[in-house]
């Protein structure tokens, strides 16, 4: 049995790929397989594992906290279209040559330079009942908005901060770069035809940067599913009640607060499945765009 690839390309490509493959196996494949194994066990994260079959999955499906976490994650996902709309709109505004647009871009990028932990701590001060925002509201004769106490306000505050506000700066850089790739002649033609700002945005800009938008959506999905933890931990700790308790946060609580690592691995498998589906969609989109 001859190896055609080896015959054709020689050994060099495999040698060059080997370090990356080793890293992928060590830090991606092995943890995923170990997580799958752990999800069928009762395990505290150390000591012997006790095989319990599907018991963790049965417990998970009967656990109200699990379904609440899915529901909360879904609420965050609902903010992704808004994130896309806001980011594309602001990028288009800046592209129009708004006076001092470089300053706005720099200011809006600042949240990306701060860590999520810092942002979480800062907002835990801003949003508390006796924080600066509420003190200003009270001073103006308005009501106290219980951002961190009201379940509805808490989850929506998290969504606005993370999905829209923090991503905005990076989105601007990304979409402005994409918009710079559009032929200026197309815009000139649109202006000659009498198109206004919104018509140009909808008929010229958006179709021209469709691939960039698709990537942005996928990026946001992954952020919502797997990168919310730091902000939630520092801002609401999953509360009030279970109002900001997401799938990712639940994995942490089960594994590292209750030390039910086997059970949390079952939750992690669900997160893995969601992320795998998103990745497959992303790969398909990239293939379609490169055709």
């Amino acid at each position: 049995m001859r190896n055609r690839g080896l015959e054709r390309d020689g050994i060099a490509p495999y040698v060059f790929l080997a370090p990356l493959l080793v890293l992928l196996v060590a830090f991606i494949l092995y943890p995923v397989i170990m997580n799958l194994v752990a999800s069928f066990t009762e395990w505290k994260g150390y000591g012997p594992m006790k095989w319990i079959g599907l018991a963790n999955y049965r417990s998970m499906l009967a656990d109200q906290a699990f379904w609440t976490s899915i529901q909360n994650t879904a609420i965050l996902v609902c903010y992704i279209p808004l994130s896309v709309a806001v980011t594309v709109f602001v990028s288009a505004l800046l592209r129009e040559g708004l006076r001092g647009w470089q300053v706005y871009r720099a200011v809006l990028y600042i949240p990306n330079l701060l860590g999520l932990v810092i942002i979480g701590v800062v907002f835990s001060i801003y949003l508390r009942d006796d924080g600066p925002i509420n003190l200003t509201l009270r001073w103006a004769g308005g009501p106290t908005l219980r951002f961190l106490i009201s379940p509805w306000l808490a989850i929506n505050s998290i969504a606005i901060i993370k999905v829209i506000w923090i991503h905005l700066g990076f989105g601007l850089i990304y979409f402005l770069a994409a918009m710079n790739g559009i032929d200026p002649g197309v815009y000139e033609a649109a202006i000659i035809d009498g198109a206004g700002f919104f018509q140009t945005l909808w008929r010229v800009t958006v179709p021209s940067i469709r691939f960039a938008i698709e990537f942005w959506v996928v990026f946001n999905f992954i952020e919502v599913f797997a990168r919310m933890f730091s902000l939630i931990y520092t801002l609401t700790q999953g509360g009030p009640g279970y109002a900001t308790f997401t799938l990712e946060y639940g994995i942490f609580i089960q594994g590292f607060a209750k030390f039910r690592v086997g059970y949390s691995s079952a939750w992690a498998m669900v997160l893995f499945l969601f992320c795998a589906v998103i990745s497959v969609v992303q790969i398909r989109l990239m293939r379609r765009s490169s055709v």
Binding site: K44, G45, Y46, G47, V121, S124, I125, L127, R128, D129, D130, G131, R146, F147, L148, I149, S150, P151, G238, G239, P240, G241, Y242, F245, I253, F256, A257, K258, F259
Partner: protein
């Protein structure tokens, strides 16, 4: 020849010193308390004394973060099967959960065991069962109660020497404080609700509180319900400082009360937020104390909720210096060590031979009187690792947001014990 002899002697001496030198690593979540009355200063004294009495031994005391991060670090150490020789734990669910990485101290402590209260020994024994392996030696005992600012009571027209002991008196006192412009109860996040409920439940059930765990006592019982409803009333009437629930840390609530912002505070007996902290800040004669609120239908009155042990030290299974580690644990929790810790922090020691301070602190005298009287076990540490996280989420929901009714809340509580 002489040179060679001197060199050989020096080498042997160096090796001998090296062999004798031992480093004992201690992890705890209290060592970072550098504030006056905090734990670091007495711990440094204890370590220095231990080193003095054990030449060649160096204590490497490491300040670790508070829970829950602390136990995540312990979990990581257990995964690696290496870490400190001695570590601090909360007796109860936390200790029992990590019992498999703590050595059994029973054979080593027979000479000092009788110095500790029976309640503390029961609590540090695995699963709270007397006769089971003892995995920690306790440094403190713990409990909860209500501290009040006597000056504010006086200004509000209340008798500062007669704290409100019944539910009706408590509500009336809150109303008067509110009318006088004081926050009736300063709040430290949802822990205020958690602690108050534990005071009320312990008072309601007295020595029968263990039934809440084994299922013989249902949470739907009228006394439990009355406790929950009472706290809900306090929230609804605005007697619990509204702004305090969104504060990021419980410690902020302690600082607020110590700064004189409220009439009452549901605090602790040891560790933090205790009689010493408030007496030192607001004046020893200005701090009053009562352990709970009595309901008319309750069989028990004025019960002091208590955990036999609040924090304790244990020896890790992977320690290569187990004998030395046991010696350190005994030194820190008995005799001179226990005395230093109790007198400098205001913690109450479960070691009857420890002594400690208290003269000049009327609030402590009041606490000690209640401790001599009716004592009721705190039910919360009887459950699983992370139970408090679950109950605090319920406290968030019910009391702060009104998302759950009292009945729904009790049903959720009942569900938790089946986990």
């Amino acid at each position: 020849m002489i040179k060679r002899s001197i060199l050989s002697f020096a080498l042997v001496a160096l090796c001998a010193t090296g062999l004798a030198a031992q480093t004992l690593t201690v992890w705890d979540f209290k060592y970072s308390e550098v504030n006056p009355g905090g734990a670091q200063a007495p711990m440094k004294q204890i370590d220095a004394l231990f080193q003095q009495k054990n030449p060649g031994v160096t204590v490497n005391h490491v300040a670790q973060p508070l829970e829950p991060q602390y136990y995540q670090i312990i979990q990581a150490a257990a995964t690696a099967n290496q870490g400190p020789d001695v570590a601090m734990f909360h007796p109860g669910a936390r200790e029992y959960g990590f019992g498999d990485i703590l050595i059994d101290l029973t054979p080593f402590i027979q000479d000092v065991k009788n110095q500790f209260t029976a309640a503390s020994i029961a609590m540090v024994s695995m699963d709270g069962k007397v006769g089971a392996p003892i995995k920690l030696l306790p440094m403190t005992m713990q409990g909860f109660g209500i501290y009040y600012n006597k000056a504010y009571f006086k200004k509000a027209g209340l008798n500062p020497d007669q704290p409100p002991k019944t539910a009706a008196q408590f509500l009336a006192a809150c109303e008067k404080l509110k009318a006088a412009g004081f926050v009736p109860v300063t709040v430290g996040q949802t822990y205020t609700i958690d602690f108050l409920l534990r005071c009320l439940v312990a008072n309601a059930y007295g020595p029968n509180v263990a039934g809440l765990k084994d299922g013989s006592q249902k949470y739907t019982d009228p006394l439990f319900k009355e406790s929950v409803r009472f706290v809900k009333t306090l929230v609804d009437k605005g007697y619990l400082e509204k702004d305090g629930f969104s504060r990021p840390y419980f410690m902020d609530g302690i600082d607020k009360f110590a700064a004189g912002t409220g009439g009452m505070f549901v605090g602790l007996l040891s560790d933090v937020g205790n009689w010493k902290r408030f007496s030192d800040a607001l004046g020893a004669d200005n701090i009053g104390y009562f352990p709970t609120i009595n309901f008319p239908d309750s069989k028990y009155k004025d019960q002091q909720v208590a955990q036999g042990a609040g924090i304790g030290y244990g020896v890790m299974t992977w320690s290569k210096n187990q004998k030395l580690a046991v010696a350190y644990v005994k030194f820190a929790t008995t005799g001179e060590g226990a005395g230093i810790y109790a007198s400098m922090t205001g913690a109450l020691s479960p070691n009857s031979a420890a002594g400690g301070s208290g003269t000049g602190y009327p609030a402590l005298k009041t606490i000690q009187q209640y401790l001599k009287g009716g004592l009721a076990l705190d039910y919360l540490p009887m459950f699983y690792n992370g139970y408090e996280d679950d109950t605090n989420r319920l406290n968030d929901r019910l009391f702060v947001t009104g998302e759950l009714t009292v009945d729904q809340y009790i049903a959720e509580y009942q569900k938790l014990i089946t986990k």
